[in-house]
Amino acid sequence: MTVSKGMVEEANQEAVERMMDSEPVWVDLAPASNKMGLRGKTLLHAGPPLSWKYASGPMKGAIIGAAIYEGWAESEKQAVRLAQEGEIKLDCDHHHNAAGPMAGVISPSMPVYELEDRKFANKTYSNMNEGIGKVLRYGAFSKEVLDRLHWMSDIVAPVLQATAKGMIKAGAGLALKPMIAQALTMGDDCHNRYVATTSLFAKQTAPFLVRTGFDPKTLAEVSRFIDGNNFTMLNMGMAAGKAMTLAGHNVKYSTIVTVMSRNGTDAGIWVSSLGNRWFATKAPVPKGLWFPGFTEADANPDLGDSSITETAGFGGFAMAAAPAIVSWVGGSVQGALEVTERMYEITQAQHKHFQIPFLDFRGTPVGIDLRKVLKTGITPMINTGIAHRKAGIGQVGAGTVSFPLQVFKDAFEAYVDKFGV
């Protein structure tokens, strides 16, 4: 039997409704070993499956940094040897319901945000955001990078964990969907611009943060860290996106894309009805604006699980909501508007909760339909950071990238093989 149009439409609507109905709430922040069961020398990474041999510079840098951070190695050389000899096991964030920006490396002792989907009972995860520039997720692993990670783990994480617990105890767990919905009306795209979201986070957590019992100096430090990093909420936003798309995953006959991700070497997708099978091809290099002293020649192919935001109907798909983002990723305000308009052509629905004021509060485009991508030739547009192609340097710019058409072709063929003939 082959699939009829009605069956596909019904399945797609169900997948997208589930994505929109998902209700991720921040419930905890604790080590990945505790929350995700990460054991031994296992590191999770962004994107489709990857081996050390084929890892890009920034991915290798992040793996080296994480190995030193965990105490598995004392030097870059030792870390490389462990990775080369296969002592460090690599696995995808998405295989563990997690999403990490850029290299997306999560190690056992790194604190991870835990989000609980109150509607569908899924739990999703992401690591903490370090800021921009020389940071682990962009492949930097110098002492200052690792010191910051330890400080985040030792000082920031306990305070935020206590804050989350306090919010839960008061029955006011931090709900991500309304926060993203509000931030989109305040000029964020919630992928590459989290200025409003981070402010909302600071505002909503403040009453609980001050009652965590930590000393005022520590609380001031943590508050300064949140205030000083406009990307504080990127990772939690991604975990929310993961919860939403996970809710729409595994719907039989659905052609809706539920994961889009890159690891700096390959870019890959999942499709709802095709389970956890990756369809991957070479990752493209983003176009954008460069930090002083860097050019396109320095750029690594795209990486990160952060395109889970576009998959869930925000990020680049909501660029029309975030005109100021063009000063970060390049292009024009009109161009940002056109990106969103184009994305309506490849999606199943307009989001019930995420709206764009400038488009008369039209819902954001949500639910990428494989078939529409192939019919139109329009591929999803992603807002992204740009990493240096060499390990150890870090972020060199920000921009946009179009997801490669080939993965949609391959997935469509697999879909037809499974259901169509």
């Binding site: 082959t2 699939v3 192939l374 019919k375 072709k409 469509f412 037809v416």
Partner: protein
């Protein structure tokens, strides 16, 4: 405004070599149709090469003032259209590879049915909706022409009148029925030329008045193997013995509202019928079941 052409089709070259004048008949975003000497030349900014196309480098803003009915001068060196001058001197000549013959190996029925399943799925998300699949004229053509041919009765496949009910049917600048017939006839005749067997001929005078002149022209040229490079790639891939032609199929299927799907459907069903005549039992029925009876 001066612009340069990067490519010029072999048929366009013949027309322009006659140093004549032409008249603009259609203007779209990146293309302009010019009628000249009972034929057409297509000016295309970027895009695919084809036998009737002049592919122009740069943006298409220069044609923004072009109007239907406007006269233009045509020569092998230059096209003059209002204040737009297109230099053709360095343009390379495009000639379809379907004009050359080679060994043909048709795909298996299951591979073709998979292609048909892809097309059916893409019809479902086409903005114009699936006009052709629900058109009774298509079922009639398939039932009275392709099925008998696949079963060994070749009488109707060579009879032009069986194609005529589809000509001009459906929406789009090139009607869906024209595109479908174009797919059928193009691949049928390509296989026939390669094997030195009988081709399908649909005289232009029979088509005249049933569809728009530009579509009639495309149909007439493609029946003789003069096709654009996208169609060329699809037909070469699907008759070349390889098992992979889906990328080409999907590339053609992106054209227009349903134009590319309609044409590709014609190619797939015709190849299935041809394959069945060569012992690929039930190939056409497999495709039809996939298309109409999911």
């Amino acid at each position: 405004m001066n612009q340069k052409a990067s490519s010029i089709g072999n048929i366009a070259t013949e027309i322009l070599s006659k140093d004549c004048s032409g008249e603009v008949t259609r203007v779209f975003g990146r293309s302009t149709y010019i009628r000249a000497k009972h034929d057409f030349v297509l000016l295309l900014w970027g895009g695919l090469r084809s036998p009737v196309t002049v592919n122009i480098e740069g943006d298409s803003n220069s044609q923004s003032r072009t109007r239907v009915g406007e006269r233009c001068s045509l020569s092998r060196e230059k096209i003059g259209l209002g204040d737009l001058q297109i230099d053709l001197r360095r343009a390379e000549v495009f000639r379809s590879a379907l004009l050359r013959t080679r060994e043909i190996t048709l795909p298996k029925g299951t591979a073709l049915a998979k292609g048909v399943a892809m097309l059916r799925s893409l019809y479902e998300v086409s903005p114009a909706g699936p006009t052709l699949p629900s058109d009774p004229a298509l079922r009639t053509f398939v039932g009275e022409t392709l099925v008998p041919f696949a079963n060994g009765n070749s009488r109707t496949i060579f009879s032009p009148v069986h194609y005529l009910p589809l000509i001009g049917r459906g929406g789009g600048f090139t009607p869906a029925g024209d595109d479908f017939v174009g797919g059928v006839v193009t691949v049928f005749n390509y296989v026939a030329r390669c094997r030195r067997t009988r081709q399908v001929m649909i005289p232009s005078k029979l088509i005249h008045g049933r569809t728009v002149p530009e579509s009639a022209m495309i149909l007439s040229h493609s029946a003789r193997g003069n096709v654009d490079e996208g169609t060329e790639r699809l037909i070469l891939a699907s008759t070349g013995g390889g098992v992979r032609f889906y990328d080409e199929l999907l590339a053609v299927a992106r054209r227009g509202h349903t134009s590319g799907i309609d044409m590709s459907l014609g190619v797939m069903l015709c190849e299935a019928a041809l394959a069945q005549t060569e012992g690929e039992s039930g190939a056409l029925q497999k495709c039809l079941d996939t298309f109409w009876n999911p």
